[in-house]
C-alpha cells in the first residue's frame, strides 16, 4: 500500500514471496523471520540451549521443519573450533586390508557425528603433501594414516602441529605417536599352538618377503610357539618368498622333495600361499588334513572358503582395529594425549583344513 518493500511476511502460513525456492538452502534468518522471532531466539530453539518458552520453541521448530531448514555446518564449524570432520590418508590405495579398517572407522566416527574425508596418495609423497594441505585447509579435527601392509612409514609432515593423528595398520618411529597394529606374532602363535594341540609334530612355515615386518613377526611367533610346544623350529622349515599362490606351490615342491622329515602341517603367511600349498599337495597326492594340516593368515573369505578343504586362517580383526582407531582419535580430539605402539589381538578362524573336528575328540 504505502511503498513498503514486498518482503514483509503475510501473517498466514502462505509462502512469503514467490522467489524460486530451489537454489540455496534456507538460512536461520528465514526461519526466524517466518516464525516471527529474532534470529538469536531461533538459534536457541534449534539448539535447545538457553531458556525459552515452550511455545516459542515449538513454533520455531515447526517453522524450521516446514521450511526444510538445515543448519549450515560450515558456519557452525567456523564458530565453534570444530569442523566435525577427520581425514583418512592412505599411502597405498585402499585395498583388501585397509578397507575393513576404514569401514569400521567410518562407522565409529559417524556415530559421533563426524564425517570422514578419504584421501589416497598411492605412494606419492607430493600427492600426500597436497592432500594434507587440503585437509588442513578444511580444518579437520584429526587424521588417520594407513598404509599397505603395516609397514613403517615416514611421519606425517610436522606441518600438522598439534593435530591428533592415529596411525592405523602403519607405524612410525616416534614414540609420541599412536600406532595401532595387529599382533602378528600372537596370530602366528595361535596358529601353531592350535596345530600342536591337534598333535602335529613337524610344522613348517611358508611365508612372504622378509622385508615385511609382519613376515618377521609371524616367523618369530612360529618359532616361539613351537618351542613352547616342545617342538623344534628348523630353519630349513621356514621358507620365505612372494605373497602368491604360485609361491605356495613352489614352496611345497621344495619342502616335499625331501625323502624324510616331511612336515605334517603348514603354517602359511597368507591365504593365497596357503591355497597354493593346498593345490600343490593335492597334486603330489597328499591329502588334507589327514597327511598335512594347513593354516593360513588373513582370513580372506573368498580365498579361505573356496579352498578345498576350506582354510583355517588367522584373522587380524581389522574391523576392530579400525573401530579402535576411531575411538582413540575421538579421545585425542577431546584432549587426551595418547601415544605408543599398540598391537591388537588376532583370532583363529577354524575351518576344515587342519582337521580340527577329526582330531578334536582324540
Amino acid at each position: 500500500m504505502n511503498g513498503l518493500p514486498p518482503d514483509d511476511l503475510s501473517p498466514e502460513g502462505a509462502p512469503p514471496r514467490d522467489v524460486a525456492p530451489a537454489p540455496g538452502a534456507r538460512t536461520l534468518r528465514d526461519v526466524a523471520q517466518a516464525a516471527g522471532v529474532s534470529i538469536g531466539t531461533a538459534s536457541k530453539a534449534l539448539n535447545a540451549s538457553g531458556r525459552l518458552s515452550a511455545e516459542t520453541r515449538a513454533k520455531v521448530l515447526e517453522v524450521a521443519k516446514s521450511l526444510d531448514y538445515r543448519p549450515n555446518d560450515l558456519a557452525q564449524s567456523l564458530h565453534r573450533a570444530r569442523s566435525m570432520t577427520v581425514g583418512i590418508l592412505s599411502t597405498d590405495s585402499f585395498g583388501r586390508f585397509t578397507f575393513p579398517i576404514v569401514e569400521a572407522l567410518e562407522r565409529r566416527l559417524f556415530d559421533d557425528g563426524i564425517a570422514i574425508f578419504m584421501c589416497n596418495a598411492t605412494d606419492d609423497p607430493a600427492r600426500e603433501r597436497r592432500h594434507l594441505e587440503q585437509l588442513l585447509g578444511k580444518r579437520v579435527d584429526g587424521l588417520v594414516v594407513t598404509a599397505r601392509r603395516a609397514d613403517k612409514r615416514a611421519p606425517i609432515e610436522p606441518v600438522a602441529r598439534g593435530l591428533p593423528v592415529v596411525y592405523a595398520f602403519s607405524y612410525i618411529d616416534d614414540p609420541d605417536a599412536l600406532c595401532l597394529l595387529p599382533d602378528d606374532e600372537g596370530g602366528a602363535r595361535l596358529a601353531i599352538s592350535h596345530l600342536a594341540r591337534l598333535g602335529r609334530k613337524r610344522i613348517a612355515h611358508i611365508t612372504g618377503p622378509r622385508h615385511f615386518e609382519a613376515v618377521r613377526l609371524r616367523e618369530a611367533g612360529w618359532r616361539a610357539a613351537l618351542s613352547e610346544a616342545g617342538l623344534a623350529a628348523r630353519d630349513s622349515d621356514c621358507l620365505s618368498g612372494r605373497w602368491s599362490e604360485a609361491w605356495g606351490r613352489e614352496a611345497v615342491a621344495e619342502l616335499f622333495k625331501r625323502s624324510r622329515d616331511l612336515p605334517d602341517a603348514l603354517f602359511c603367511g597368507n591365504d593365497q600361499i596357503a591355497r597354493g600349498a593346498v593345490d600343490a599337495l593335492k597334486d603330489i597326492g597328499r591329502s588334507i588334513p589327514e597327511d598335512v594340516a594347513i593354516v593360513g593368515f588373513d582370513n580372506w573369505n573368498v580365498m579361505a572358503d573356496a579352498t578345498r578343504p576350506p582354510l583355517t586362517s588367522v584373522d587380524m580383526n581389522l574391523g576392530a582395529l579400525g573401530a579402535e582407531a576411531g575411538a582413540a582419535l575421538l579421545d585425542m580430539i577431546s584432549g587426551r594425549r595418547l601415544a605408543g605402539l599398540r598391537r591388537l589381538p588376532c583370532s583363529l578362524v577354524v575351518r576344515a583344513s587342519c582337521g580340527a573336528h577329526a582330531h578334536a575328540g582324540a
Copy 2:
C-alpha cells in the same frame, strides 16, 4: 610506554607477542597485521586478484609463508557458495567393485581441488538418510551414489533438491538421473566373439543368479554374439547359479556328464566361477585350453593370475567409470544438466586360458 595495549607490532620481523603459537592456525588478520597492510589487501595478494603493486604482493606472500598461514576453507566456502567437497554414498560397503571406482573418482576430483566424504550405509535406509542429512549439512557440492552390483536402487531422497547426483555402478528409474554402468552385454560379446574367432564352436555360459541385471545382460550378449558368429545358443548351455567357485565346479559337472555335444569353450559370469570351472575340468581330465577354452568376467587379478592357466577375462574398466563419474559430476556442478543411463565399454584381457596364442596363427 603510555598504556598502549601490548598488541601492537614491533616493526622488525620479530614475533610480535609471546602467545603460544601452537593452537589455532594463523588467520588472514595475522598476516595482514604482520605485513603492515589491510586485511583486504592481504586477501587480494593471496588470491592474486585485484590490482596490487608487486612489492606489496611479494611482502604479503612472504609474511604468509613465514607465518605458515593456511586459508580457512570453511570460511571461504561460507562466502563463495561452494564447499569444494562432494559425498560418496555407498549402499553396500565398499568392496571389490566399488573400490576401483571410488579410487578413480577421488583422483579425478582431487585434481580439481575437491575433497570427498566417504559414507557407507550398508543397506540400511535409516543410516543412509542420516548420512545424507550430514552431507547436506556440510553443503557438499554434489553426490555420487554407488551400490553393490550395478543393481537398481531407490532414488536418493528428494530432499536433495537441485543437488547434482551421479549414480555410478548403480541406477534408478528416473530418466532425469545420470547413471553410469558398465556395458555388460558388450563385455559378453567381446568374450564370445573372441572365442568364436579362435574357432570354438560350442560355447556354454555358466553364470550367476538371474536376479542380477548384469547376469541377464551378459546372457543376452552371449546369445547375440553367438548368433552373429553363426553359432547356436542352446538354453541347456546356459547355467545360472551362485557367484562362487563351488558353483563353477558344479556347473561343469553338470555340463560334462553329457555323452555328446560337449562344450569346447566356457564363458563364465565371473572369475570365481571360471576358476571353479577350471579346477573341475582338470579333475575330469580335460585340458585347458586345448579341450576347453575359458573366459571369465571381472578381471580380478588375484583370481585371474592364480588360475592355472591364467584366466582370460572381461574387464569392466571400473577405474574409467569412476573417472567418468567424477568428470560428469564436475560438469553438473558447473551447471550443466546431464541425464540418462550410459553404459561404458568393457574390454577383454587375454591370458592363457583360451589359447589365444596357440590358435591365433591358425
